[in-house]
């Protein structure tokens, strides 16, 4: 018990040091003590003179800081949505994209890249809107007689994903090659958007979605017992499930709209948290997943920025790290990982 509390405390505190050390990483080399001094100066003496070139401050505050924060909220969004959807679908193997959100967001982004190249923010807006549209299509298709069985949601998600992917293929087919490269690069997922603009637009949406899931996290335990049992315990299953799905979609669509499809985090992080802490209780799993997800994506993005002389898409890194790690968990824990 106390060991678990210690682990949780460490997990919840760790994002801060990871955030600060992620500011050290980048193409332009600024040594860590200088970065720390820049941070301290900004906190206590913003207008004072400094021994380092002014461009250093621009790099730390206007390039690295928003990017690292984007990784932080993105990792949080993907893993919290993964944890909550796994509860709703009563299945620990569900990923954030099960509702068709990624296919919708991908189609939206492709439309933006191919047909509105000059319009600022069009890719992001279309991607967010289409991600949401995909979710509502899935939900509407699955709903019958005021009831939305989980199995219908899964099937509807598969259908909607297939449909939106086919539409995406049509758009790719009619798009000239340099724009097509943009679509392909977007689909790989990257945090290379610059500045505070996109972050300030999506962070409130992600935090709103997170707040809903955070306060409903114990309720998700009950929902994971099955519809009939939850109803008999007094839960308005339809309403509660819709709220959690909506909150998840809000978080994921918002993040995907600026960063593209970054896979595996929603699956790997909640799983790791459950195994690490030895409990499926979402009262602990949701905040711990938020924290570990944020850490995971910040570190993955540090690697994406530093392992090669050019930048790698971070989605490739999360998959390269996530898939083998998941395999390791599976082999080590055997079937008991799913019980």
């Amino acid at each position: 018990m106390t060991k678990r509390k210690l682990l949780v405390s460490v997990l919840l505190l760790l994002p801060l040091p990871v955030l600060v050390s992620s500011l050290f990483v980048g193409v332009y080399s600024i040594d860590p003590p200088t970065v720390i001094s820049i941070l301290i100066k900004r906190l206590y003496d913003p207008s004072g003179s400094a021994p380092w070139p002014e461009v250093y401050e621009t790099i730390v505050f206007n390039i690295r800081m928003p990017r690292v924060l984007l990784a932080l909220v993105g990792g949080l969004a993907l893993s919290v949505s993964g944890a909550s959807l796994q509860g709703i679908f009563k299945n620990p193997l569900v990923d954030t994209y099960i509702l068709g959100v990624s296919a919708g967001a991908g189609l939206g982004a492709a439309l933006g890249i191919a047909y509105f190249p000059g319009l600022p923010g069009s890719v992001q807006a279309l991607s967010f809107a289409m991600g949401f549209a995909a979710f509502f299509t899935t939900y509407t298709v699955a709903k019958s007689k005021g009831d939305t069985p989980v199995i219908s949601l899964v099937l509807a998600g598969v259908i909607v994903t297939a449909l939106f992917s086919a539409l995406l293929s049509i758009i790719k087919f009619f798009t000239e090659s340099e724009k097509l490269a943009g679509v392909v690069y977007w689909m790989m997922g990257s945090l290379a958007v610059t500045g505070w603009g996109p972050l300030s637009q999506i962070a409130p949406l992600i935090l709103a979605g997170f707040a809903i899931v955070f306060f409903m996290r114990w309720r998700i335990n009950v929902l994971s017992m099955g519809d009939e049992e939850a109803k008999a315990l007094g839960v308005n299953v339809e309403r509660d499930r819709f709220l959690v799905l909506l909150a998840s979609t809000l978080m994921v669509s918002a993040f995907v709209s600026v960063a593209g499809v970054i896979g595996w985090i929603g699956l790997v992080v909640p799983h790791t948290v459950r195994m690490l802490l030895g409990t499926p209780d979402n009262r602990v799993v949701v905040p711990a997943s938020a924290s570990l997800g944020a850490i995971f994506l910040m570190v993955a993005d540090d690697l994406a920025r530093s392992v090669a002389s050019f930048e790698l898409p971070v989605g490739v890194i999360t998959t390269l790290v996530g898939a083998p790690f998941f395999l390791y968990l599976l082999k080590r824990r055997g079937g008991s990982a799913w019980k």
Binding site: G87, K90, N91, P92, F215, M216, R217, W218, R219, N221, V222, S224, M225, G226, E228, E229, K231, A232, L233, G234, V235, N236, D240, L243, R274, T279, P280, D281, R283, W338, K339
Partner: protein
């Protein structure tokens, strides 16, 4: 005091199978058993009483109020439901599962409080399974799970307890302990109990009243000695039986056939 009263109830699945229950009443501290073969409508009737299924016609009063006027959470404060146990997807502890019984007392964004934890502990000790609190629900036996689900229902602080075949899949000893626990809870806490059972002997031993069900209808209803004899059991189950007496209690046994038991 009367806790449930069912009158003129009819429910149809739309595939030809329907159930009828003209009149059924259960009072505080009373155990009513629905006894009948597979497919006689016991589970359907239980689900109607808990509003998990909506009757086609008829009326169910719970504590004097029409059941349709209850919200889902108000209903859960009055009615504890013990389903046939299944394996959930996540390895919650026994305590986690029992605590879930408190959800009807919490608002949408609320987490269980110290009071809820205390009520869950009390429910565990009432059922006599406090020693199991930290065990993993997915790893315990069927009999233990049944008791955990009963404790969860008790944490709801219900006036009425509905149990769907609480002895299914249990071994000989667990069947008897579970039924004893149910009867004790009904007496101690003045809870009205409606449960479905397969075995006429269990019904004879542990019921205040029995409703014999056959083909979706209540065949007979009354005190065990009025309802259960070799004739009525044979009518309902379609199997010749004998009735024997042993130390003041009556038992139903399958009748001997020409080529042996």
């Amino acid at each position: 005091m009367e806790v449930v009263s069912v009158s003129g109830l009819r429910f149809s699945y739309g595939d030809g199978f329907s159930i009828w229950a003209d009149s059924l009443r259960v009072s505080e501290g009373e155990v009513l058993t629905l006894l009948g073969p597979n497919g006689s409508g016991k589970t359907t009737l239980l689900k109607c009483i808990n509003s998990l299924l909506q009757p086609t016609s008829g009326r169910i009063l719970l504590c004097g109020r029409d059941i349709r006027s209850y919200t889902r959470s108000d209903l859960a404060k009055a009615v504890g439901y013990v389903p046939q146990s299944h394996t959930p997807s996540f390895p919650f502890t026994v305590f986690d599962v029992v605590l879930m019984g408190r959800i009807s007392y919490l608002s949408l964004f609320q987490q269980p409080s110290g009071t809820d934890h205390k009520k869950a502990e009390e429910a565990l000790s009432t059922v006599g399974i406090s020693g199991m609190r930290d065990r993993v629900y997915t790893n315990i036996s069927g009999g233990e799970r049944q008791l955990v689900l009963i404790a969860r229902a008790i944490a709801q602080e219900p006036r009425l307890l509905l149990l769907d075949e609480p002895t299914a899949h249990l071994d000989f000893r667990n069947q008897v302990t579970t039924l004893r626990t149910i009867r004790r809870l009904s007496r101690e806490r003045n809870i009205a109990v409606v449960m479905s059972l397969h075995d006429p002997n269990h019904a004879l031993l542990f019921s205040d009243r029995i409703a014999l069900m056959k083909g979706g209808k209540i065949h007979m209803e009354g005190r065990p000695d009025e309802v259960v004899d070799s004739k009525t059991i044979e009518e309902v189950y379609g199997l010749p039986v004998d009735m024997v007496e042993h130390s003041g209690m009556r038992y139903i046994l399958p009748a001997r056939t020409d080529d042996g038991p």
